[in-house]
């Protein structure tokens, strides 16, 4: 058996983080930070190994591991990555480094617990993306709520209890339906494959199960609620702004960069391949919800007075592009029979997920930088920040422009691919999605103008000190990632290509 790289990626941060929890309170904070950073960097290094060793020509699961876990129920510890999950795993490891680095300034008490929670969460998130067994997936999916719950509840703002309860109940409600769907699929698998088969909870085996239309519809809806809440799609999005506002900067970063992507990943791994016919049936509905998300939420974002809320709404709006790109595929195929365009549409969605991971992380960290200094998230408490923090303003400008989707930044790539392919489905889809061009620019740059530009009107702003050291380092890493992805997305698209084509074939292959 090959080297269990994925297991390392999952368990090293979890055990490392757990070890931190047992440290005595008086342990030197610097050591704790250094140790966590090393751990995060090591994990990132491992994910890079994964990336380098990845074969882009195949859609097969790579670095696969299979160990019996609960043999009596045919539940396996089954891991593997393909082109859909690999970029998300790398993104997860990258984001954790940023969060740990960013905590150098913003978190001063309970440092060990803070780092430990994030490391454990990193391992669990990698587990979600790497699991190929439904029970394992579900375990990681649920386990991940706990650290997030703690992060918001413990290091959060004033209204954190409401936010954290809302977050937990909202997502837990979805999870229950996810579990029901998984159990039903297992029953179907048992009747078709036989009780002794080793694939009763195998996600890949689920994808090949024959299901009737009525079964598919129910399974689709159960999965949809679970994943739509995570994405989040309109109208089940209202937990996100509250959670973001109350979460500490690091929590917001992980929430926006990774957690939301788990919803999108669920669509790719479960909904589309397992219930292709139901997906086709409901596609126009989902497209409608996506377009509402894009336009309605962007309008809501314009009138926000709280920076974090604004960025949270902007996240929802941008995630609308992701779901749009995934579900326009059916009408693209119907309309043009051109598989290339359909593949491009899905790749656009995936790139948008990755890119949004970078951009929302960057924007939340920028707000974090300001919050650390003035302890306010309200736009009106700022103004003229560029006068005292020019380097910060330059970075913030880049990230704002990336959020606007300026070509040359990663924000452009996904939107461009999705809008171009949506046009081939129906012109009005593209027109609806392209309003993001105008509305996105309006809310992002209007906020930028009020926060950064202008002369100093608040005395507190005059005392601000520019970013330095670790803060520059964090933002620089993100800037490089955003520009690189924007100027040359080819390598990422290459990684996605084979798996996306495979997924497309699964989606177009009717199970009826």
């Amino acid at each position: 058996m090959a080297f269990p790289l994925l297991s390392w990626l999952i368990w090293i941060p979890i055990f490392g983080g757990a070890a931190l929890l047992f440290l005595r309170k008086e342990t030197c904070v610097l050591w704790v930070r250094f140790f966590s950073l090393c751990l995060a960097m090591f994990s990132f290094g491992l994910s890079c190994v994964l990336l380098i060793g990845f074969d882009v020509t195949t859609s097969e699961m790579q670095w696969a591991e299979t160990i019996p876990w609960i043999p009596s129920f045919q539940i396996f510890y089954r891991l593997g990555v393909d082109g859909l999950s690999l970029p998300l795993i790398v993104l997860t490891c990258f984001t954790t480094i940023l969060v740990i680095l960013a905590s150098y300034r913003s978190v001063q008490n309970n440092v060990a617990d803070y780092c430990a929670t994030f490391l454990i969460m990193q391992g669990l998130m990698c587990g979600v993306f790497a699991s190929l067994d439904a029970v394992l997936f579900y375990s990681f999916w649920e386990a991940m709520l706990v650290p997030m719950f703690l992060i918001i509840g413990r290091w959060g703002g004033q209204n954190r209890i409401y936010a954290t309860m809302k977050f937990f109940l909202y997502t837990f409600f979805g999870s229950v339906l996810l579990l029901v769907a998984i159990l039903y699929l297992q029953m179907v698998a048992k009747s078709t494959l036989g009780a002794e088969s080793d694939g009763l909870f195998n996600i890949l085996a689920f994808q090949n199960l024959a299901l009737t239309m009525i079964e598919q519809k129910w399974i689709f809806l159960a999965f949809l609620i679970a994943f739509a809440i995570k994405v989040p799609m309109w109208p089940v999005h209202t937990w996100l702004p509250d959670a973001h506002v109350e979460a500490p900067a690091g929590g917001s970063v992980v929430l926006a960069a990774i957690l939301l992507k788990m919803g999108g990943y669920g669509f790719l791994r479960f909904i589309l391949p397992i219930t292709p016919d139901a997906s086709q049936f409901f596609a126009s509905g989902i497209i409608g919800l996506s377009l509402i998300a894009i336009i309605y939420i962007a309008l809501v974002a314009i009138v926000q007075t709280d920076m974090k809320k604004l960025i949270a709404y902007s996240s929802i709006s941008h995630m609308g592009i992701v779901t749009l790109g995934l579900f326009t595929v059916f009408s693209i195929i119907k309309n043009t029979e051109n598989h290339d365009v359909a593949v491009a549409s899905m790749e656009g969605s995936l790139v948008q997920m990755i890119s949004h991971g970078f951009i929302s992380a960057a924007l939340f960290l920028c707000v974090g930088v300001l919050y650390d200094r003035l302890h306010s998230r309200l736009i009106k408490d700022y103004g003229g920040v560029v006068n005292t923090m020019p380097i910060f303003a330059a970075f913030f400008m880049l990230f704002a422009m990336a959020n606007v989707g300026l070509p040359g930044t990663s924000g452009f790539v996904g939107e461009f691919l999705v809008i171009l392919s949506a046009f081939q489905a129906k012109i009005w889809y593209a027109v609806g999605a392209a309003t993001l061009l105008i509305l996105g620019a309006s809310y992002t740059l209007w906020m930028y103008k009020r926060v950064i530009f202008g002369s100093i009107t608040q005395p507190a702003v005059a005392t601000l000190r520019d970013i330095q050291g670790t803060e520059i380092c964090v933002l620089l890493l993100l800037a490089i990632a955003i520009l690189w992805l924007g100027l040359w997305p080819e390598p990422l698209l290459n990684i996605l290509q084979a798996s996306t084509e495979h997924l497309l074939n699964q989606m177009l292959h009717s199970k009826l």
Binding site: P235, Y296, I419, L437
Partner: protein, 653 residues
Amino acid sequence: MFELKSSCLAIVGLPLAAAMLAGFCGKVIGQRASHLATTFAVGLSFFLSLIVIKQFYTHEISPLNFTLYTWGQFGHTPFTIGFLIDQLTAVMMLIVTFVSWMVHIYSIGYMRDDPGYQRFFCYISLFTFGMLMLISANNFLQLFFGWEMVGLMSYLLIGFWFKKESAIVANLKAFIVNRVGDFGFLIGIAAVLYCFGTLDYRLVFEEVQNISKVELFQLPTGYTVSAITFICLCLFVGAMGKSAQVPLHVWLPDSMEGPTPISALIHAATMVTAGVFMIARLSPLFEYSELALNVILTIGTVTCFLMGLVGIVQNDIKRIIAYSTLSQLGYMMIAMGVSAYPIGIFHLVTHAFFKALLFLGAGSIIFALHHEQDIWKMGNLRKSLPITYYTMLVGSLALIGFPFFSGFYSKDLIIEAVKLSQLPCAKAAYYFVVGGVYITALYTFRLFFVVFHLKTDRDDIHVEPNSWVVEGPLVLLAIPSLVLGALFLRPLSENYFAHSLVIHPEHSGFQELMAASESPFFMALHGFTSLPFVLGLLGIITAWIGYVVRPKSAAWVQRRLGVIYYILKNQLGFDAFYRLVVVMATRTLGLFCWRWGDQWLIDGVGVNGTANTVKRLSQSLRKMQTGYLYHYAFVMIVGFLVLIAWLLLSVIV
């Protein structure tokens, strides 16, 4: 051996490299090194473009189309970053690098005391890079790259003085209005990909004939929209944003809040002409859509005429020139509309020089008067700023199309082309275009006379002498404004652009015009007898009488035409409309969605409503758990009795 490929990369790359140097190391290397590096790089680009254009003219090289790298894959269609260097690109490169170079030199003096000195040079070099990327693109993707890059630099430069509230309002407005244009542009690109399956110019142009009859969709009214018309109209919306055509023009006058060198470079000579350039570059597409050409002609005419009118009543020196730019962009669009692409590009070139000259001249006045921009506070500056006076005279005469000056040749040809055009809108457009000449002369010389000739009894105007870096570029720009028209005419009649600009044989106006063309000298002589000349002269005389001989008469006219004056003064109400209707509606809608949709309906009724219902239910259930034994006993007895009663009843029945 002259290498076109590497020199093209050098032309485009040098400003980028210099901008990076000034941007990242500006504080380390200091002001002097920053401006030297950027100015030198852009100057070098200019000389290289000069060689390129000379070689094209002497037919030593042929157009080059190459790919630099593959940006990404659309399925299996590669999206690339690549360059197309042909005659059109060469001309554009020449003016972009030359004007940019002049502005670099000028800024050394103009911006010398500014705290953001290095940042400024970084921005303008980066802008030059973006503009060069735009004009040398060989596909729609890179065109859009350059398009947005210059938009970004324009945004940053309008807001260069970020402490000024008016500047940061203006740059936000500029960006968002441009985004409205980009919205159309992006849909247009999507339509191109849909119809042609590629974004590469060459492949698209080869296919265009097969597509020209394809119908894209049917409107509910039964009217079918052909693919090519849809594409062209969408792309034109992009051009309307960038080239500030009515009704997306509102950002350009406000953009004057930026430093004056920027107004000369971006908002007069180069970026705002990007829309015109784009249409010329895509002439093989536009030629197949009669409807799109009519729309372009109409919008161009409206812009040309109305914006000239608004220009007459402005008092801010830069705003007057800005409205003049709008009007001249209208002229260029008109040329595009009547399929006289080479003439439109010709006007673009001459306009770039004389308008940059006028802006830099205005900058020199503003600088000398310590940032005073109101023309009524200037007056009688002829003696104190002689070089500015004479160079601006050249610029003004070129602008109104006075015979022998560069603007004459290009504008006269546009008017002739409109006359020859067969388009349904051309007849009406012709009258407006000719009438526009009078208006142009009036606002141009109103500004000129008020600033330089109007007698003032105040002596408090303290004029600071300008340094050579400010006045040198004025002279260097005045020379092409004077002679370029005559020089350019010959290559134009020899069909220099035949390779780049495609004109459908049915649109024969340009060919007829070129067949009938004379030598520049005789053309100018004939110009003295033409109607436009008479109108232009009339405009100058009106301005002379109204503002110099009898200064009170202008005020009298203003009183008599109060309503018209009020409307023009308020820019025909476009700003008010956008502010009161569009912006307010968007914000109200946003507030509505947020307060009623999110907070009331989803959160209030849905989420918290569910939670509260559960809470209320459990609270009423909780009341039963009183903890008193006799309550429980009572309930038990009641239950027992009910059970017995039920049993008995069932037995009886």
